[in-house]
Assembly symmetry: C2
Homo-oligomer: 352 residues x 2
DNA sequence: CTGTTAGCGCATTCAC
DNA sequence: GTGAATGCGCTAACAG
């Protein structure tokens, strides 16, 4: 397809492009008003006369003007930028959460920078330090465990912070999460009530996953169920974590009635391995996952999942953060939101 | 835990914090040098004397100084920001790709803003327009189909662009992808060569997925295999897409020998449904996915996946983009990289 | 090796 | 309703 000049519109404007695009000054000259008026026409159209507004809009269109947010933010001290740090996004429930969060933020005109910490406090710290250079209007962190320097930097920077996905008594700032210990205990009680007695567990070496499985094992022990075979496999959690895990369990410990996984990704691997062995789920082998928190309920219909009741977690985080940014007060400092969780009873643990 | 003042270090500095943090001028005063020297000490330490460097570093530490990138970028015209637009990130191979891309970019000091287009050209356009306000150093788009305004904006803005995940003759700028038609044909030939004759297919209404499945059906037709049952289900692709799809296929069309899915997520749903029906994979039912492109090969060991040979796709995109940004020439304009793909023969299609 | 001058592009603050 | 002056925090380009 050959380039063809459009002769009817924008006769020589396209050729006169400055590197970096047109500026407010360019627009103001073309429109025959001051640059201040252009700025107002763009951000507060209601305060400008209709005629000027038209002239400005015309000039903006002619020049293809796009405001330079860096310059604007430098003056206004609002970057409309939120930074989110997650341990991982691939094969992870965090992808759902981040997507919901980005969606909510985008609707309010905020852009999202993502940092992947790979479950490392040190990487988190480096990413936080780097991102503070962009003066984000808000920061979201997964978990409540952070390096001392991270904590100090964040406190000093005075940026609104939401810690998510966990619960603690003294959050850095705001907190939206739930107790992983309670999740573990709830899983145990749920499965016990359904008559399961021979358990097994597969987790990756993710601190919160380990805590969930640990709490479950403790609860089981209270019901005289001990020596539950359990595996802690290396992160990241992938399908093969579940496949290898089930294979290993079957070889070394015989077949359990139900295998509890620290994440839905692992559970999917278990299901895949079950399919390859012709094990019928849930009668030959029941499977319990974890996740589904920020997704619609139809996302993991094969698994019994723990999920948030009502609003998506990502949406809740966005709301809390934006409320705080908007009122510019510290009214919500120390705010703690326990999202709670549900146990959804799905096919994979529904015995006939 | 009570806050306790550390009396030995940073005596009164912490109290004197300006809102927004210390500035270059603050550091230069404390260090007793000019602000320019501080700037150099931070970005080009080798060009500053050792003594000055020490003074500057000391002052930086005292003040907890973090450079304001907005101001820096405004002058230098380099934002060290890359924007990536993907149709979705939840339950998607794009999450892998984006993670690999972010990883490579982060190593070179670039931050990544993600925009989710939800397979909508209109949303892509709005996101691109908005992000151009941040003057990103590079933009990555999925696919080669974009609205006219998007194309024009990008061309005029002169930002390096990589279109990924598809192939075409005249890319906007640079291109890193593969042919979805070739993938579809290769899948057909591969499965035929393994002796499969009774096919079925499940896809979501994603343009590229449909093209893959369409090309596969065409190739099968050339081998006298026609009337292949196939479903096009609504996006987004989730586990239940696969579960519902298989259920529907079995009810209406009987059991195929192999079901081809337009993504690994769907294939995982099919495996889950197979497990719930006690169908043994691959003998009762073989499953073919698509994905695994930017992940290590062990990620989807249950599926026969199409994957990139060698380097991760996200890494390749980062490399192409950073090369272009670095040399600041247009030498690589029009660059087209065909990543190709592999068919990995895995358990789920390996018949005994 | 270091300092000075200038200005990036915009919004705040005040005049009118 | 509109405009002029000022400066956000930093770096490019020079001079010394």
């Amino acid at each position: 397809m050959r380039e063809k000049r459009d002769q009817s519109s924008e006769p020589e404007v396209e050729g006169n492009l400055k590197p970096g695009g047109a500026t407010l000054a360019d627009v103001s000259k073309l429109a025959g008003v001051s640059s201040m008026t252009v700025s107002r026409a763009l951000h507060k159209p209601e305060v400008v006369s209709k005629k000027t507004l038209e002239k400005v809009n015309w000039a903006v269109e002619q020049l293809g003007y796009i405001p330079n947010m860096m310059a604007g933010s430098l003056m206004s001290k609002r970057s409309r930028l939120v930074a989110v740090f997650v341990p991982t996004v691939a094969h992870s429930i965090f992808a759902d959460m981040v997507q919901a969060l980005m969606h909510s933020l985008a609707r309010k005109g905020y852009h999202t920078i993502i940092g992947v910490t790979e479950y490392s406090d040190k990487q988190e710290q480096e990413l936080v330090e780097a991102i503070l250079g962009r003066r984000p209007d808000g920061i979201v962190l997964i978990g409540t465990q952070h390096s001392d320097l991270t904590r100090k930097r964040l406190q000093v920077s005075n940026v609104p912070v939401v810690e998510a996905w966990d619960m603690c008594d003294e959050p850095l700032d705001m907190l939206v999460g739930f107790s992983h210990e309670e999740v573990g205990r709830a899983i145990a009680r749920h499965l016990l009530s359904k008559g399961f007695r021979r358990f097994a567990a597969i987790s990756v070496a993710d601190p919160r996953g380990i805590r969930r499985i640990g709490a479950m094992l403790d609860e089981l022990a209270k019901h005289e169920i001990v020596d539950v075979p359990h595996l802690y496999l290396p992160i990241p959690a992938t399908l093969s974590t579940g496949r290898d895990g089930l294979r290993q369990l079957l070889e070394c410990n015989g077949r359990p009635e139900v295998v509890v996984c620290s994440s839905d990704t692992i559970a999917q691997g278990v299901l895949a391995e079950a399919a390859s062995r012709g094990l019928k789920v849930p009668n030959d082998l029941a499977v319990m996952g974890f996740g589904d928190l920020s997704s619609a309920s139809q996302v993991y219909p094969s698994l019994s999942s723990v999920r948030l009741d009502g609003q998506l977690v990502g949406e809740t985080i966005a709301k809390v953060l934006l409320d705080r940014i908007a009122q510019k007060s510290s009214a919500t400092r120390g705010l703690r939101v326990d999202t709670g969780f549900n146990i959804i009873d799905r096919e994979s643990t529904r015995r006939s």
